[in-house]
């Protein structure tokens, strides 16, 4: 869903995309060859060097997998109409027996990676496929692949059972990203209603499993709640890395990454609300001219484009009458975008639901 934010000069503005750390060049060295036994394949994101971050919600684990897909290309994955049907056929199944969970574009090769469940029951197989510039679909082999994994901090253990032998508590992972040498994971418990953002240093050391942080947001300055983050993106404000997070209950909130330390309660600044009967799905940051923009696709309010120029100076929604916050425009022509990821500053790829339920992999010229 989210590729590593790339090194782009800040230009005259105070905002810059996050710069990959210099140490990124040796990230592969931390990965060991073996079988990556995914129980499920959920949100995806790319770290440097073609390393794919894969969230495995069923195992409450995050994997870093070397895709060995490091050949630079400017040609993105081809557009594929009915990509869900084609992936299903590739997996020997009908389209109604697979679920496509997420999509991420490798910023080096520009291939599109999709996390897929083959089957719909609890025993569904986890598969990662990729689509190349010719539209060819292939599976990312998980046998003998260089990888590392880390169990999510403060997550229910995969074999945890209640006193009647049932393992009931689980956590859905709604987004994952690689930010400044760390893997950031947004999750949603199937029991307690809470914000839980995990920040895990990469390479995974096995000792430092990262911090679990509660992010609160205000609602018109009066009520303070915590709530699960649905999707997020990272960028700089005044040279400091921040996260812009969209909540399940629609506020768009910013907070500095430096606030994400263990056990800390973070109060984010609400900068916009995204409207009722709507769920935020994915966000990307891109640069056009001298300005950084955020593109956000929603479940029912289409794709929104926000200029970041004013986010750093915006003081937050503080009054009951102040409803909209930071201004945004809606790209009316884009409907049914279920997943979105950036190819480069000019292009993105999206999974878009067409007429009759077909899911299409399409290019998007960034507006």
């Amino acid at each position: 869903m989210k590729s590593i934010t790339q090194c782009v000069l800040a230009g005259l503005g105070s905002l810059a995309l996050i710069v990959a750390p210099a140490a990124a060049a040796n990230l592969n060295a931390s990965l060991k060859a073996g079988k990556a036994e995914l129980k499920s394949a959920g949100p995806l994101a790319f770290a440097p060097d073609g390393i794919l971050i894969v969230a495995d919600p069923a195992a409450a684990t995050v994997y870093a997998i070397d895709t060995n897909d490091n050949k630079a290309s400017n040609a993105p994955a081809a557009e594929v109409a009915g990509v869900n049907e084609k992936i299903a056929a590739f997996l020997g199944a009908s389209a109604d027996q697979i679920l496509i969970n997420d999509m991420a574009v490798n910023p080096i090769s520009k291939r599109a990676y999709l996390s897929v469940s083959r089957g719909k029951g609890p025993d569904a197989a986890a598969v990662i496929v990729r689509v190349d510039a010719k539209g060819k679909i292939e599976e990312l082999a998980l046998d003998g692949v260089k990888h590392a994994k880390v169990a999510l901090p403060n997550a229910p253990a995969a074999d945890a059972k209640d006193r009647r032998g049932a393992s009931l508590r689980t956590e859905a992972i709604t987004d994952v990203a690689f930010v400044e040498g760390k893997v950031v994971v947004a999750g949603l418990s199937n029991e307690e209603f809470a914000s839980n953002l995990r920040v895990i240093p990469f390479p995974f050391t096995g000792v430092d499993r990262g911090a679990s942080v509660e992010i609160f947001h205000g609602a018109h300055g009066k009520f303070e709640t915590n709530s699960p983050v649905r999707t997020f993106v990272a960028y700089h404000i005044n040279g400091k890395p921040h996260i812009l997070a969209a909540y399940t209950c629609t506020p768009l909130v910013k907070f500095p990454i430096s606030d994400l330390s263990p056990g800390k309660k973070v109060m984010g600044t609400t900068i916009a609300e995204l409207g009722n009967r709507n769920r935020p799905l994915d966000m990307i940051v891109y640069k056009k001219g001298k300005t950084d923009f955020i593109l956000l696709n929603n479940s029912s309010r289409g794709v929104m484009k926000l200029s970041t120029e004013k986010i750093d100076s915006y003081e937050g929604i503080t009054k009951q009458t102040d409803v909209t916050g930071v201004p945004y425009e809606t790209i009316a022509a884009l409907k049914g975008v279920e997943h979105l990821d950036k190819v480069d500053d000019a292009r993105a790829m999206m999974l878009i639901r067409g007429e009759g339920g077909s899911l299409d992999l399409k290019h998007l010229a960034l507006p």
Partner: protein
């Protein structure tokens, strides 16, 4: 799942095809070891789709075997190509009698607050993902379906066995001060009656519909914005320990976030049951109580039906209730098992 194995052999020239879920074999192939590229010569695909299914090949005598990456799907038609020879086969569909049902919807109470946060749907067997949001309906007392009452997240909050689904009412419509709350209001209106309807057509993990639709009817009481507190809980000792709570609590958290420690500070092993519409927590220890001072430990993230936690409301009015910001993870209530305790 019963192991099905059948043979459908078609004489096509000198070769015959044999289909199983886990393999496709071609018999009677002259000198198969001379075929350089088996994957090009022997292709298996879903019928009508020109995409070869990946898998492994091996040769045994005059038989070439293809093992698909995943078992072939019931009811789906496939094609196998050996050079210019094509064989088509449909994997038989197992017709199953519906056996899965909705076992219970929590809360079990027939009244729910207007700011009810969660429902738990318990099924008698594992279910399919990807169907939930078109299979659960909230119908008001005028017979009209309420539009988008739930947080429809694609991930669907199942437990590992996919037997319990957590359904969140849209928190944006519950939380005061947010646009959805102000513009469209809560999904549940105080004083009205609603039905939760679960479609019979919702497929279980085998793809079979439920035995029957399920309906839960309830009446809506005023929004509950008062956090629960332990001060009014009532503990009774006996063979089982009974804790009576003045209001219903979240059923899942009630079973997870309350436990008992013995006089040595060790957790007491035993069974938990809920009763009286989730207002009663009953604990039966694995071994009989020893006399002494015990503590009932309660995690402060325990929620009532409206998501209010112990001593902390769901949406804190931060200007008026800053003192409500609780940071402790547990609270406790001491109780004593007297030496003369006689089981009730």
């Amino acid at each position: 799942m019963p192991l099905l194995h059948w043979t459908l052999a078609f004489a096509l020239a000198a070769i015959t095809f044999e289909w199983r879920r886990d393999a496709v074999e071609i018999h009677g192939v002259p000198d198969p070891s001379s075929v350089r590229d088996l994957a090009s010569q022997f292709r298996v695909s879903v019928a009508g789709k020109d995409i070869a299914i990946p898998g492994a090949y091996d040769v045994s005598g005059n038989t070439v075997r293809f093992r698909p990456r995943f078992p072939l799907q019931d009811g789906l038609t496939y094609e196998a190509h050996w050079g210019a020879t094509t064989n088509t086969h449909t994997i038989p569909k197992i017709v199953r009698t519906p056996s899965t049902s909705v076992a219970q919807i929590y809360p079990t109470s027939s009244t729910l607050p207007a700011n009810q946060l969660k429902l738990y749907l318990h099924f008698s067997a594992s279910m399919s993902r990807g169907e939930a949001w078109r299979r659960i309906h909230l119908i008001d007392d005028a017979g009209k379906e309420v539009s988008l009452p739930f947080l429809e997240i694609e991930e669907e909050l199942w437990d590992r066995e996919a037997r319990r689904l957590t359904v969140l009412f849209d928190p944006g419509r519950i939380k005061r001060g947010l646009v959805p709350h102000n513009e469209v209001g809560p999904a549940l209106v105080e004083g009205r009656q609603y039905k939760i309807v679960i479609d019979r057509e919702w497929p279980d993990a085998t793809g079979t519909p439920l035995t029957a639709a399920f309906t839960k009817t309830f009446t809506v009481t005023p929004a509950d914005r008062t956090p629960p507190t332990l001060t009014n809980w009532r503990i009774q000792t006996g063979t089982s320990l009974t804790v009576d709570i003045p209001e219903p609590m979240d059923s899942a958290l009630l079973q997870r976030l309350i436990w008992i420690v013995d006089p040595k500070g060790e957790r007491v092993d035993g069974d938990i049951r809920l009763a009286n519409e989730e207002t009663r927590w009953i604990f039966t220890p694995s071994t009989s109580w020893a006399p002494g001072k015990y503590q009932l430990i309660v995690g402060t993230i325990l929620e009532d039906l409206a998501g209010n936690r112990i001593d902390r409301p769901f949406d804190v009015d931060s200007f008026e209730r800053v003192e409500m910001r609780l940071t402790t993870k547990t609270k406790s209530i001491p109780f004593t098992v007297p030496s003369a305790a006689t089981p009730k």
